[in-house]
Symmetry: C2
Subunit: 450 residues, 2 copies
């Protein structure tokens, strides 16, 4: 028997196939996929694996971008899929909170919440499940307004590798009765346990939004504009996304139906997607479209005049461009993608430095970047123009970019995707501190007798 | 010699006195107060204490309410005061972040930031220092809008008890390169290390606010109103504070200069302080006072008509009443104070149940409560009306309240003040889980080889 009694398991290659293939093309091998339906069943699986000496990998929506949600190709690692773990969906309306099983998809959670005027405010281009979102601490495009999964998690149920079930935190928002252990598990890629349930903070749904494409007058002006918007539009500001000409160009070439909003179709060097939104449109409110126009008009007059031009349009159309960048760049040629994080001013300095450095040392790559400038996130994507990638080229290019990002610009080599086979080389290179921290932190905890 | 070389120390009783007395009347004894001025000096002190086998207690602003910032009366515990640790104050304007030493007072931080239009958005009635704020994860009155210290902390420097200095996190907002160890130290009352520096998220200062006193039509109506405000005023809502008649009555009796805003001076059963605010007052914005009036007028018409009456006034005057509650209640007689946290609907159910239970079993106490209803925080304060408190009475009363709060209503026995001598009885009673969690979490971490 391949698993503990009463738990659905898959062992046929054709049944397992979908669980063995990741979104970045990685394919693993495995003897068995477990599909537990309750927290107790997860504990059974985990104990079973422990007793059998079988490694396992937790998988929720399998949309992760670092190759960590599928097994490696050795073939002895089981897949612990949380996708059937759907036992709990408990909405507390007055508290704006939801206790939900790991196997619910983000889209389904938000569909079910819509009739109550609430949503889980993490916004991204894929449709992950709650368990994987907690494990990777998903960020996304509205981070600037709503924060990441960590900020919106009140409690967790975690199954440790010895089968012990921990309930960490609760729906109570103000609770300082000891160390807050749930944070050990948020964004830790499942290293310390398997998440089976989360208690989430919910926000009122967006009822009105206004969006513009803004052409900054210079790279430095982007930050001036951001500060202006943060002050003048205040908490209405919900996105401030950066798009390079190269990325936009590939998106237009790839997605034929995409409307080019620029005069004479001339794509500017950089464009910013600026969005204001709020959960209501009350009679006393100035329409957001007018607010956005007014606040950008003001920006023409402030010092350094950060705005060169601005185009307004329906939010869906403008976001369509932003959402098409990823696929467009992928279609342009062999892709070397980076998910970097910086302090906000360093995003611009890093890009400038890399333009010079890559131009000299890797003239065959094109920088096609875009990102969440409002929170310092940069999807630094490179396309190789002169034919296929080989491993050695890719590695030397990656090493060069990572070294600059981390050593020279104090950035993060994984802003929002977590750690896995696709980037663990850099975890080992720059994350040494993390191993030390683990040991030091543990020793500090051990010294203290509660 | 009482300490390591080069570090300012106090050993004379008159010099040490201020460091030995807490705000809740507790007075401890100590052989020495250390006043390090740098992180390295803190490490020296900590190592010195370790070698000498001397316990120490970290102290920052000494405004903590659970007796944990002063030594006990045994007399062998040193005070490690962070109040002179002021080496770092590095503002990153573009990133809206500040690297700051533990010894800066909140008021000084915000005074220095004012000229840049930024502030550290934690708001409370005392003036603590950054180190103590991180150690207690301070909440306060604008939690509903800005969150707690945890939400606004990007990085920490911590000195462990063996003198090792850890730098956890950084100014980079998006960073998921491994477990986020800084959370081990936020809100942990200094158990695992001494905080010497923090990197804080800053927000644009408030430029416009509008405040009202609202009389709810029933207790349940308070939550209906809260949900209405969260939807219609959205991110403008920055405070939703609950005040009981008893607490307001004592405030008016105690603070002679306080204006009674109610018609004929008749204090209602409960009043809510509702505040809207934003970082700007732009020409296109409807004045917040008008927004507040309109959104409350709407509330008259919605189902359950949650608003019975509303009074508008200058924010300072209305907040003066809220801020006078604490002292007013203290002056009314012997005080037994609780800092409780609940899910939002349970706040009201708990109050109703306690009114019955205390009326029967402790008829000599008056419930004079108030709190942060918007986030489920309740300062459940009891005044004994028939003469002085004795220890046994106080303990049985406390046990009764805590048992109901935690066991019957799933609440937190320390919503925002942390753990210390004033509540460690309940940490031992209900926090058993915490000890288990510590051990279980540590074992989970140990099993995993990075
Ligand atoms: C088109 C596209 C756009 C994306 N955009 C963004 C973006 O803007 N921001 C962003 O942050 N991410 C983005 N991602 C990445 C990805 O969607 C997120 O990381 C997502 O949250 C992962 O959730 P998942 O359920 O798919 O997890 P999986 O892919 O199944 O797993 C991810 C990791 O978490 C672990 N894990 C999964 N479930 C559990 C569990 N229950 N307990 C413990 N560990 C577990 C896995 O072992 C693995 O290490 C994008 C991905 C795609 C394909
Ligand atoms: C009138 C009044 C109103 C208040 N209102 C609120 C409120 O609304 N919300 C709220 O949350 N709190 C409130 N408090 C409580 C208190 O002000 C906060 O807990 C405050 O953040 C404590 O900071 P401090 O610098 O005074 O810390 P201290 O009192 O010096 O220390 C508090 C705890 O932290 C530890 N500690 C201190 N510094 C460090 C350090 N550098 N490293 C490690 N551990 C350390 C101490 O050992 C102790 O356990 C109030 C207090 C008063 C007197």
């Amino acid at each position: 028997m391949m698993g503990p009694a009463g738990i659905r398991t898959l062992t046929e290659p054709q049944d397992m196939a979908a669980y063995l293939q990741g979104v970045r093309g990685e394919v693993g091998r495995s003897p068995v996929v477990f599909l537990p339906e309750t927290t107790d069943q997860v504990a059974d699986c985990v104990r079973h694996c422990g007793q059998a000496g079988r490694p396992f990998v937790a998988q929720s929506g399998n949309t992760g971008l670092v190759g960590a949600s599928v097994p490696d190709d050795v073939g002895d690692t089981a897949v612990l899929s949380l996708s059937r773990l759907r036992e709990t969906f408990e909405l507390d309306l007055a508290n704006r909170s939801l206790r939900v099983s790991a196997g619910f998809r983000l889209s389904e959670v938000n569909d079910r919440l819509a009739e109550h005027g609430l949503f889980f405010p993490i916004d991204l281009g894929s449709d992950p499940m709650i368990g994987g979102m907690v494990a990777t601490n998903t960020g996304g495009g509205r981070f600037l307004r709503y924060g990441d999964v960590r900020r919106n998690t009140l409690g967790l149920t975690v199954v440790l590798d010895d089968g012990v079930v921990l309930r960490l935190g609760s729906s109570v928002r103000k609770d300082n009765t000891g160390p807050d252990w749930k944070h050990l598990h948020i964004g830790s890629s499942g290293w310390f346990g398997t998440i089976t349930e989360a208690i989430l903070n919910l926000e009122p749904v967006v009822a009105e939004q206004a969006t513009a494409l803004v052409i900054p007058s210079s790279d430095e002006a982007m930050l001036t504009l951001l500060r202006h918007l943060e002050t003048r539009a205040g908490p209405l500001l919900s996105a401030f996304e950066f798009m390079s000409r190269a990325a936009m160009g590939h998106a237009f070439r790839h997605a034929a139906s995409l409307k080019n909003p620029f005069p004479r179709g001339e794509i500017p060097e950089t464009a910013l997607l600026v969005e204001l939104s709020r959960p209501t449109r009350a009679p006393w409110d100035t329409p957001l479209q007018d607010v956005l126009e007014a606040v950008l008009a003001e920006a023409w007059d402030i010092a350094d005049a950060p705005v060169a031009d601005a185009f307004f349009g329906r939010p869906q159309e403008i976001w369509a461009l932003r959402h098409a960048l990823s696929e467009g760049v992928k279609a342009a040629g062999p892709l070397i993608a980076f998910d970097l994080g910086f302090t906000r001013d360093k995003v611009i300095a890093f890009r400038a430095a890399m333009t010079g450095l890559l131009g000299q040392n890797f003239p065959m790559v094109e920088i096609c970047d875009f990102g969440h400038l409002g929170d310092g996130g940069l999807h630094f994507n490179l396309v190789k123009r002169d034919g296929p990638l080989d491993d050695e080229f890719e590695r030397s290019l990656r090493d060069c970019v990572m070294d600059q990002a981390v050593r020279a610009f104090g950035g993060s080599f994984s802003a929002e995707h977590g750690i896995g086979p696709k980037n663990d080389r850099y975890f080992r290179m720059f994350g040494q501190q993390s191993t030390d921290l683990l040991e030091q932190s543990m020793r500090a905890v051990q010294r203290r007798h509660l």
